[in-house]
């Protein structure tokens, strides 16, 4: 939060905001008109694809390829209901299965990665042990390793263990989040005073109790941020499940929609109804994350700059 230190002499008409400016002698409205115009244009740019996706989901096949009112406006027929019905019944309802798989991978992988990151971050921040500095250096180095470069060797490793084409092939590698550990370590160092931990220990609380009762409540903003990053990362992951899974019943939604797109492109014309499914399916699959984002915003807004605040 910004706090102003208003000096009486320097007060402007908008002393309520820290960014009040005294420059050219222009009216306050004019001063914010240009920035607002700039923002409005960019908001349109960022929202157009989503608007198109919503509009296109309400069209039937004819409307999609030759709508009366163009691609960015609704057709005369409103087919969202029938599109949704077809989406959940097509191929024995495989779409809902994909959504379920995505949820499973994102929750188990994301929550697991967060738990590991919180524990390790706390361990690095509040304890001194042999090899700690080396481990931290290795951890920081690993943040710079592109994780997609690990997919192919991990695939060969897993296939030697007969683990490919199982849910574990997607979930286990998703538990790895070095950046999350780094964030937690940075945050814990500042947010949890040593004196508080010592006081709890003197009062006879065990280490686990001290962590859960004293440290964890102070870490909440960072935990939510790391959770968000891990869950979104797993939900959006494409390369890993694409490589690991052959059984379409195990696909997450990203790989599933890619599969449909392949089928639709392969049989030109015959795949027209599939295009509609892909569009409606994309719309339905972005809704949960968008809702999660908007409802959790007050938690993650502050946390995202953690890595850069040091």
């Amino acid at each position: 939060m910004t706090t102003t230190v208003p000096t009486a002499a320097r007060r402007t008409s908008r002393s309520a905001s820290a960014q009040s400016r005294v420059d050219a002698p222009r009216g306050p409205r004019q001063r914010t008109l240009l920035p607002h115009l700039f923002l409005a244009i960019l908001v349109i740019y960022f929202l157009v694809p989503l608007w198109w996706l919503f509009v296109a989901s309400t069209k039937d096949v004819q409307g999609l390829f030759g709508g009366a009112h163009g691609a960015l406006w609704f057709d005369s027929r409103f087919a969202l209901g029938s599109n949704l019905k077809e989406l959940v019944t097509y191929n024995d309802g495989i779409y809902l299965r994909w959504i379920g798989n995505s949820l499973l991978y994102a929750l188990v992988g994301g929550v697991g990665a967060t738990v590991l990151a919180v524990l390790a971050g706390y361990g690095f921040a509040k304890f001194r042990f042999g090899g700690r500095r080396v481990m931290l250096a290795v951890l920081l180095g690993s943040v710079m390793v592109p994780l997609t470069a690990l997919v192919i060797p991990t695939f060969v490793l897993f296939s030697n263990l007969n683990l490919t084409d199982t849910i574990w092939a997607v979930i286990l590698p998703s538990l790895l989040n070095p950046f999350g550990v780094y964030l937690m370590q940075v945050y814990t160092t500042d947010a949890v005073p040593d004196e508080l931990l010592d006081a709890a220990r003197v009062d006879g609380a065990g280490e686990i109790m001290t962590f859960l009762r004293v440290a964890f409540p102070l870490l909440r903003p960072a935990v939510v941020t790391v959770l968000l990053l891990s869950v979104v990362g797993t939900w959006n992951n494409y390369f890993l499940p694409l490589a690991m899974l052959a059984n379409t019943k195990l696909f997450p939604i990203t790989v599933g929609l890619g599969l449909w797109q392949g089928q639709a492109s392969a049989n030109n014309g015959g795949g027209t109804s599939l295009w509609g499914l892909i569009i409606t399916g994309s719309l339905v699959s972005v809704i949960p994350l968008v809702i999660a984002f908007l409802s959790l915003q007050k938690y993650w807004q502050g946390g995202l700059s953690l890595g850069a605040l040091k």
Partner: protein
């Protein structure tokens, strides 16, 4: 470091109080450091299993090659010499390097401009705009790419329809001449909002009295933006730059998702990662694919490391 005092714990005749205290602390220190290790252990196991092991295994695999007649034989560094003289691999490398050089400045500029504008406003609309611009980050890259693919589509995308109004022919943004810009647009749309939020949060962390001081010194709002705000958030900018660099060099998802609708523009050797993927899963050539993956991992690591070393800012990632 902490084990020095743990020696005299067992001496029961410690009559002086300080020594007893020191002894107890020694025991605690040892217990404490073991506890710390236990907190780190679960992550360490995952780290070894899914980062260190695959990296080492990639290197091991890359030293062998599989011939039809010979079976698996030790090949030394042959896969690497093949890769770095393989025009298909080098073409992909050249593409991501060019892409990074153009995309990253554009993305940084857009996200920084947005963050500075948003930081200067406190209206309801600016809060709404901040969320909407960030929203694409929540959308899977595959779906973002598919959406833009539809929007680019000459058959049912709006671009051609808009061009029809003036009787023109809209460019197909996935043909060989435009694919660079077409992909750049997809990636910028997806990530600019995320970078903007990071910069914005860093700006909010600046103490307002700094602006007050600058204003008393007679700085204009432009000067405050570029002489005060930007330098103060340089570590956030550096973090983003590193993220963008790592992300761009391993470019995979968007071009892979748009491959089928690009009418052959996006080839199986389009980026190093796509090339490794097709070598592995189209030709079952895992040894060569591992060599490419390992090269990519090492090269990106070294590039980022050198970059951080050159820009060494105290207190960012160090």
């Amino acid at each position: 470091m902490a084990h020095a005092t743990a020696v005299d714990v067992t001496s029961p005749d410690s009559t002086t109080r300080p020594r007893a205290g020191r002894g107890r602390r020694g025991l605690n220190e040892r217990k404490r450091s073991r506890t710390g290790l236990l907190f780190v252990l679960p992550f360490a196991v995952v780290f070894l299993a899914f980062l260190v092991a695959p990296l080492l295994y990639a290197f091991y695999l890359s030293l062998y090659s599989k011939g039809l007649a010979t079976g698996v034989v030790f090949a030394g560094l042959k896969n690497y010499t093949t890769a770095f003289t393989d025009p298909q691999f080098l073409k992909g490398v050249w593409f991501v390097v060019r892409f990074a050089l153009v995309l990253i400045p554009v993305q940084m500029f857009v996200s920084l401009a947005l963050a500075l504008v948003l930081d200067g406003l406190t209206t309801r609309f600016s809060r709404f705009a901040r969320l909407m611009i960030f929203l694409p980050y929540a959308i899977p890259a595959v779906i973002g790419a598919l959406m833009w693919g539809f929007l680019y589509s000459p058959t049912f995308g709006p671009m051609q329809q808009i061009a029809d109004l003036v009787g023109a022919q809209a460019p197909f943004l996935l043909d060989p001449d435009h694919v660079f810009g077409g992909l750049m647009n997809v990636v910028t749309w997806q990530w600019a909002g995320y970078y903007m939020i990071i910069i914005f949060a860093a700006l909010r962390g600046i103490d307002a009295s700094v602006y007050e001081a600058a204003r008393i010194d007679g700085a204009s709002s432009w000067q405050i933006a570029f002489r005060v705000k930007v330098p103060m958030i340089s570590s956030a900018l550096l973090l983003i730059l590193v993220f963008a660099l790592i992300g761009t060099l391993q470019f995979f998802t968007e071009p892979q998702a748009l491959r089928l609708v690009s009418n052959g523009t996006i080839t199986p050797d389009f980026t190093p990662n796509i090339y490794a993927f097709s070598q592995a899963f189209a030709y079952a050539n895992f040894n060569y694919a591992s060599a490419i993956s390992f090269s990519l991992g090492i090269v990106v690591f070294i590039a980022v490391y050198v970059f951080l070393f050159l820009t060494r800012k105290r207190g960012s990632i160090s």
